[in-house]
Amino acid sequence: MGNLLEVKSLSITFEGNQAREKVVRNVSFSVMEGEILGIAGESGSGKTLTALAIAGLLNRHGAVSLEGEILFQGKNLLTCKREELRRYQGNDISMVFQEPMSSLNPVMKIGRQIEESIKIHGTLSKKERKEKAIWAMECVELENPEKIYHRYPHELSGGMRQRVMIAASLISNPRLMIADEPTTALDVSIQHQILKLFQKINRENHTAILFISHDLSLIYHLCGRALVMYEGSLIEEGNTKEIFYHPRHSYTKNLIACIPTYEKKV
C-alpha cells in the first residue's frame, strides 16, 4: 500500500505582535492508504494544529505561519492555491471535530449539513443527494434517518450529533478522514460505539483515518500505528502494540501509566 498523505518536517509558528511561538516543530510522518493512524498527546502538544494544517484550516488565520510540506497524493497542500485546496476539502479529506455541540450550524437542518460537501463538490440532484444522506445516516447507525434529516442540531443528543458529523464527513467517500478527539465530549458508553463506527467505516469504505486523542487506550484499541506528540515534537512513532509495551520515551511511559490497570491486560 502506498502513502496517501506525507507530512514532511512541518512546523507551525504563531506570529504574535512581539513574540513568535513555535507550536509544532519539524514533524514528519505519513498515512498509508486505508490505515488507521493514531496521534496521541496532551492538550497543547500540537496534535490538533497538525490536523487542522492537513485539513487546510489554518491558513485562514493570518497570524500563523507554516513551514514544510504536506503532500496529499503527491500534491503539496501548503503551496497550492486556495481554489485547489478547496477541491480536496470535504471531498478527499474530511474532518470530524471534537465538539459535536458547537460544530454543527444551529439554524440549519441536519440533512442539509450532511449533504453539504457533495452539494459543493458533486453534480447530484437534490433527490439523489437526499438518498445519499440517508445512506450515510444509516451507515452511522442513526435511527429514523428520514425524520432526523429534517431535524435541527439542538433536537439531538450529543452522541447523535457526533454520528451526524461522521455521516457528513463520510458521505463524499473521502480517502482520508481526520477525527480530532471525536469522542472526548461524549459519555464512555457512547465512546465505544463511535469507535466501532470508525472501524466499520475503515473496513467497508477503505477510508484512511487519522485518529487524534489524548487517550492512549482508545488509540490502542483502534489504531494499527500510532504517533505520540509532546510539546510540538514527535517523540514516538511505530506499531501501537510496540509503543504500548515498549515505550522508548519517558513521557509515553507516563501516559501509559495513567491508563487504569485493567485496561492494560487486554
Partner: protein
Amino acid sequence: MKYIIKKIFFFILTLLIVVFLTFLAFQIIPGDPAVSLLGTEGTPLKVAALREEMGLNKPVGERFLTWVLNFMKGDMGISYSYQIPVSELITDKIPVTFLLTMLSFAFIICMGIPLGIYTSKHAGSRLDRLIMTVNQVTMAIPPFFLGIILTYLFGLVLKWFVPGGYISYSDDFFGFFTYLIFPAIAIAFPKSAMVVKLFRGSIIEEAKKDYVRTAYSRGNTINGVLYGHVLKNAILPVITFLAVVFADIIAGSIIIEQVFGIPGLGRMLITSIQNRDYPVVQAIIVCIAFVVLGSNLLADILLKVLDPRIKL
C-alpha cells in the same frame, strides 16, 4: 404554531393594557371633557346634558369598555378643538405617516445590511476603518438636525426640493413620494449606522464559532461560508433590533414631520398636545401602540421561523 398563537395572545393582552393605561392617564387629568368640548358656550345646564350624553357619569370600567368598542367600530370620539370626529381628522393623515415610515425602514435595510456585510468581510482594512469612523459619527446625529442640514443643503443651496412645499398624495402621488425621500433619509441615516455596527459585530462574532470551521472543512468558499452559514445566524440579533428601530422610526417621524412641514399623524399629535385635545392624542397614541406592538410581534414570528431553537 403554538408559539405564534401564544405571541398573538400576548400581543392582544398588552395592547389592551396599553390602551387601558392611556385611557386611565387621560381620565386623571384635571378638567371636565364636557367643559372643554363646549368651550365658551358652556353653561352649567348644557354641561350637565353633555355629560349625560357622553356617559361621563358612568363608572370608569364601563366607560372604558364603551370606548374600546366604539374605537374598534372606528368611532374615536370628537376632537375638542375642531369639533369633528377624530376618525375624520386622522384617516387622511395615516397614509402619509405610513409611507414615510415604510420608506425610512426600506432605506435602513438597504443601507445597513449591505454595509454591515461589506465591513465585516473587510474588517480591519483601511476602508472598513474609514466607514466605521464615519459610522460612529453618523450614529450621533439627531434625525431632526440631519433634516435641517438636508433642508439647507438640498433645499436652499442646491434647490432639489422646495422646503415646506409638501404635496398632498391625493393631488400628485409622485410629487408626494419624492417630497418624502429627504425626510426618510433624515430618519434612516443615523439608524442604519446603528444597524451597520450591530450587524458587523454580530457577523464577526459568528465567524469565530466552531460550525464555521466545519463549513470550511467541507470545501466551502469564503462567500459560501458567509452566505450559507454565518449570515443566517448573525441576522438574528439584528431582527430584534429592527423591531426597536421600527418603533423609533415612528417616534422619529413625529419630529421629522415638523422639520419638513409634512401634515402627518405626528404633526397632528404635536398640535393636539399643545391644544390639550385629548381625544385626538389618545387615538393617535393607541394607533402608534398598535403598530409598535405589531412590529414586535412580527419580529418574534420572524425569529421563530429563522431560529428553530426559540421556545416560549
